[in-house]
């Protein structure tokens, strides 16, 4: 088997047994990534760090370009940060490196993680490995496409409303968004702070489990990171899974494309054959999930992105006064989708409208959160397709923001309620990948990953090539 076909955990074991060297591994993936025609990476590492022992020894990682890696460019897919060099490592990167993980490069993304197709990157769109005329999803499109195209075995992304899970589904790989607070956000460039969470993309659940156990856990640099204990996920997932009850929210998935819905039904049948129980659940506020999410995400984004003023770092466009410099820098530095979201976010936070929009959305968020927690008392997991349609063609949705936002219709609820969710590759429809999403209870990645791992092995969803 070629090196690039190996899973992350296999690479580590082979290195430990002396069957392959760290250099051979790095070179094989570097060669593959640097000759890729998919535009997956914005920056590739200049060299390999010294070899280190550890749980991730020698495994190359792709890192979304909004997670800081000391000494490497961190553009966030934006012109405004085109030359920004990260002065420190994000906590998750520090932990990866400490366990022997190797950074191969920084992956392409929608500007400031705002988008579902990667077309909003200032560095050009990423292409889908299954059809280069189609999008890889977003915003972690570079991470998902790189993993699917064997340019890297594991990649990190960020997920504010589905940005890890939706591209994972579009590229036919696994993508986990852990519980909010599970992984420190220190060193992740903020988009919407009450929704953002770092996620993991890989071709096997075992690699996700292994990575999670290394990077999760409390970090004094992020006061919202949780002191909950981090179990040894990569061992736990090997244990028996038992039979689970999965809830299908019919109101939510009713608007889905027919081909996805048919494939989803077949998936439910397979799950039943494996002994799991499928029940219908009611989520009465399902139609409000997406608008609630958009208001909160845009409001928080408009506030977080106020820091890009050309003064301390990033692009600076000169002018006659401080105000002119700031306004011009932001005008030239931000792309259309970022401007759109800043404007809506500014509006919903402005005097006279704050309570009507932002306050209202925060209250509806409470109702949504309670509704989901209630549902998860009755069932072990909520199951839906990850996205309502197949990977679409480049340009198809780019000019219509609401059509683009609909990509996240099944993913945003996990962020609103802070729940962990994983996208599992469901196979192909007309040659294109699709995925289904399993959402679990807060802090219960243990059961979620165990379930996903058993499906990968027993349900015919393995990506072993």
């Amino acid at each position: 088997m070629e090196i690039v076909n190996l899973f992350g955990w296999e690479i580590k074991e082979k290195i430990e047994r002396g069957e392959i060297s760290e250099k051979e591994v790095f070179d094989a993936f570097y060669e593959r990534a640097s000759s890729s025609s998919l535009n997956t990476f914005i920056t590739l590492a200049e060299g390999r760090e010294e070899k280190k022992e550890g749980k991730l020894r020698g495994i190359p990682f792709g890192i979304k370009d909004n997670i800081l890696v000391r000494g490497m460019k961190n553009t966030c897919g934006s012109k405004i940060l085109h030359d920004f060099i990260a002065p420190y490592d994000a906590t998750c990167i520090e932990r990866l490196k400490k366990e022997g993980g190797v950074i191969l490069g920084k992956t392409n993304m929608d500007e400031f993680a705002m988008g579902s197709s990667n077309e909003y990157s200032a560095f050009g769109p990423v292409k889908n490995p299954f059809d280069p005329e189609r999008v890889p999803g977003g915003s972690s499109g570079g991470s998902a496409a790189a993993v699917a195209n064997l340019e890297v075995p594991i990649a990190l992304g960020s997920d504010t409303g589905g940005s890890v899970r939706q591209p994972a589904a579009f590229c036919g790989v696994f993508g986990l968004k852990p519980t909010y607070g599970r992984i420190s956000r220190y060193g992740l460039v903020a988009f919407a702070s009450s929704l953002d969470q770092i996620g993991i993309i890989a071709r096997t659940v075992k690699d996700i489990a292994l990575t999670l156990e290394v990077i999760a856990g409390y970090d004094p640099m992020d006061s919202t990171s949780s002191p909950e204990g981090v179990p040894p996920y990569s061992k736990i997932i090997e244990e028996p899974c038992g039979y689970k009850t999965l809830g299908v929210p019919e109101e939510l998935i009713s608007g889905c494309d027919e081909e996805i819905l048919n494939a989803f039904q077949r998936t439910l049948e397979i799950l039943q054959r494996l002994g799991h129980k499928i029940v219908r659940i009611t989520l009465p506020h399902a139609k409000y999930y997406l608008p609630t999410y958009e208001i909160i995400a845009m409001a928080e984004a408009s506030s977080n992105l106020a820091r890009y003023d050309g003064v301390r770092y990033g692009l600076r466009v000169e002018g006659e006064s401080a105000e002119e410099i700031i306004e011009k820098t932001r005008m030239r530095g931000f792309g259309p989708e970022v401007k759109r979201r800043i404007m809506v976010g500014t509006y919903v936070l402005s005097k006279g409208y704050r309570e009507e929009y932002y306050g209202k959305a925060q209250r509806v968020r409470t109702i949504i959160k309670e509704e989901l927690e209630e549902a998860l008392r009755e069932v072990d997991f909520i199951i839906t397709p990850t996205a309502p349609f197949l990977p679409f063609k480049l340009g198809e949705r780019k000019e219509d923001p609401i059509k683009m936002y609909l990509s996240d219709v099944f993913t945003v609820f996990a962020n609103l309620a802070g729940l962990p969710a994983i996208s599992i590759p469901g196979g192909r429809i007309n040659g294109l990948p699709w995925g289904f999403q399993v959402t679990g209870r807060a802090w219960d990645e243990e059961n979620l990953l165990t379930f996903a791992y058993h499906l990968e092995r027993e349900g015919g969803w393995s990506l072993r090539q």
Partner: protein
């Protein structure tokens, strides 16, 4: 409306851009109007998925990045200060 937002967001727009963006902003605001149907009387807002207040940490000085690291990314520097033109207070 859009000029006021431009000022609030410190983000100037070009003529063409302004027209398209105004349409989009209106469309998005119209699309989220649906939330008005939800009865939220007596419901408290959620600002964070799990915490009701932000935990504080001990008030102890830590190690900060050295100045040289901090200033590496700036376009204007004067000693230990960032340098920019004076405000015009338009």
């Amino acid at each position: 409306m859009i000029e006021k937002l431009e000022k609030l967001a410190s983000l100037r727009l070009g003529e063409e851009e302004r027209k398209k963006l105004l349409e989009d902003v209106k469309e998005i605001l119209h699309w989220v109007e649906i939330l008005k149907e939800v009865d939220t009387e007596g419901v408290l807002p959620t600002t964070h998925p799990f915490l009701s207040s932000l935990p504080l940490r001990e008030d102890k000085p830590g190690v900060s990045l050295p100045d040289e690291e901090i200033f590496k990314n700036t376009k204007g520097r004067s000693g230990r200060f960032f340098k920019i033109r004076r405000p015009g207070w338009r």
